[in-house]
């Protein structure tokens, strides 16, 4: 089983039975993570942990669906979050492609990945903020922050306060959490996920070290 087989990725094969069952978990983790972060009054949103680890495990398409669905479900209670569906889709896609390109394998690649992940969120958020919210930039941050918070559009806050570093930290912590979880998933479970194999080698290397 150790031999490296060339893996073909078709979108259809990405959506295995297990992937289908991970999506609801991912969305719920996004919710719970966000809730827990605000309950513990952490200065972060941590509301895309589920999207990121799903993308890492099952690839970009499943990750994107998990991200998009998060906002669809939030939208049932607050339709404004529909406007931000593309942001979470982008997070899932980018995290998935980075994982597939093995961009988390050493520290500098990893750092670059975090910046890319944060940047993609900001880039996708910008036009939405401009189109939907009239491009309020810079001025009156506190009011805008309140508005954005109420909208549940957390990325927007980070974007508006012009604080890219903030997003990078948020994504980094989310990623670390995802990585931590994947690290403790038994390898016989990991093998069943589309991209699970990538993490098995690392885990065994870590143990022997």
């Amino acid at each position: 089983m150790g031999g490296k087989t060339e893996k073909s990725h078709s979108i259809k094969s990405d959506f295995s039975m297990l992937a289908i069952l991970i999506i609801p978990i991912a969305v719920a983790v996004n919710f719970v993570g966000g809730q827990l972060a605000s309950l513990l009054k952490l200065p972060m949103y941590l509301d895309c942990i589920g999207t990121i680890f799903t993308a890492m495990l099952c690839g970009p398409w499943v990750g994107a669906l998990a991200g998009g669905l998060t906002n669809v479900v939030t939208g049932i209670a607050n339709p404004i979050s529909f406007a931000f569906i593309p942001v979470n889709i982008a997070t899932g896609l980018v995290a998935g492609f980075l994982a597939r390109a093995n961009m988390f394998s050493n520290w500098w690649k990893w750092l670059v990945s975090m910046v890319i992940l944060a940047a993609s969120s900001i880039i996708v958020t910008a036009p939405i903020v401009i189109l939907v919210f009239g491009g309020i930039t810079g001025s009156g941050p506190s009011m805008v922050v309140a508005g954005a918070l109420a909208a549940g559009a957390n990325i927007m806050t980070a974007f508006l306060s012009g604080d890219g570093i903030f997003t990078v930290i948020d994504r980094t912590v989310s990623y670390l959490l995802g990585y931590l979880v994947i690290g403790v998933i038994p390898s016989k479970t990991l093998i069943k996920f589309g991209c699970g194999e990538n993490y098995i080698k690392k885990a065994s290397v870590k143990k022997s070290a």
Binding site: I22, A28, I49, G134, V181, V184
Partner: protein
């Protein structure tokens, strides 16, 4: 009969409309809002203001006014914020109103009205739809309209999973507290509480997913044939009427728009 008990009975005829009819209304209403928003009077999109009145009226007629108010509060807050920031902070040459140090510029007021009321209209009509429709109905309607049963499963399962996991996270959090994990104090103390609360939750769910995958297979989930449903959507009988009204109103708005344009 058990199936009788599963049926969702609604005494209110608007509430009882088929979800697809409601969705048609939502789309047409939003389209009208955008069309009306493009009619500017002195640069102001004034028509979308009275258009918004339809939303609370529709909700009142559907018998969900209080529910609507509660759900809509967040949207209202956002819209107000946008309106205020736009009107007070976007500067232009013409001052529309001034009171002491505060000045409202024309340009800001124009965009403020347009954006905030467009948001109110679209978010409002969506809120109406979601407050009058149960998730179960949405899921059934999606499946009826050709969505794959697996996708419909993901949608419903997500809604349940959020509830279940929310409850579990509370249980775990309390257990952590009882074990002496600090949940208050400095930022690092609180951050340290975050990980042990979340990681077992996620891990447990993922491992459970494996067994659930097999369970679903045992129950024929991956059979690609026609499915039956114990729960069926029942039209209220007023679907055609409601759709006709919505289409007629949209046509009127569209004609009005063209007239304004031509004249």
């Amino acid at each position: 009969m058990w199936r009788e008990k599963l049926r969702i009975r609604k005494s209110n005829q608007i509430q009882a409309l088929h979800p697809s009819t409601k969705f048609l209304i939502v789309c047409l209403f939003s389209a009208c809002s955008l069309i009306l928003g493009s009619i500017k009077m002195n640069g102001y999109a004034l028509l979308i203001i009275p258009w918004f009145l339809i939303v609370p009226l529709l909700c009142a007629a559907s018998g969900i006014f209080m529910k609507f108010c509660k759900a809509f509060a967040k949207v209202l807050l956002v819209a107000t914020m946008i309106f205020l920031t736009q009107s007070f902070l976007v500067r232009s040459d013409v001052v529309a109103w001034s009171g002491g140090v505060l000045k409202i510029y024309e340009k800001g007021l124009q965009t403020g009205i347009f954006i905030s009321f467009t948001i109110l209209n679209i978010a409002g009509i969506f809120t109406w739809m979601f407050q009058t429709t149960r998730n179960k109905e949405i899921s059934r309607a999606l499946e009826d309209s050709g969505m794959h049963h697996k996708a419909a499963y993901v949608f419903m399962s997500t809604l349940q999973m959020i509830q279940v996991m929310g409850q579990n996270s509370k249980t775990i959090m309390n257990a952590q507290r009882a074990r002496g994990v600090e949940t208050e104090g400095g930022i690092f103390v609180r951050a340290k509480a975050f990980f042990p609360s979340l990681v077992p939750l996620i891990l447990g769910s993922i491992i459970g997913a494996e067994e659930r995958a097999l369970t679903l297979e045992s129950k024929g989930f991956d059979v690609n044939g026609k499915k039956t449903h114990m729960f069926e959507l029942e039209p209220s009988g007023y679907e055609k009427l409601a759709a006709s009204i919505a289409v007629a109103a949209t046509a009127a708005v569209l004609i009005g728009r063209i007239l304004v344009w031509v004249l």
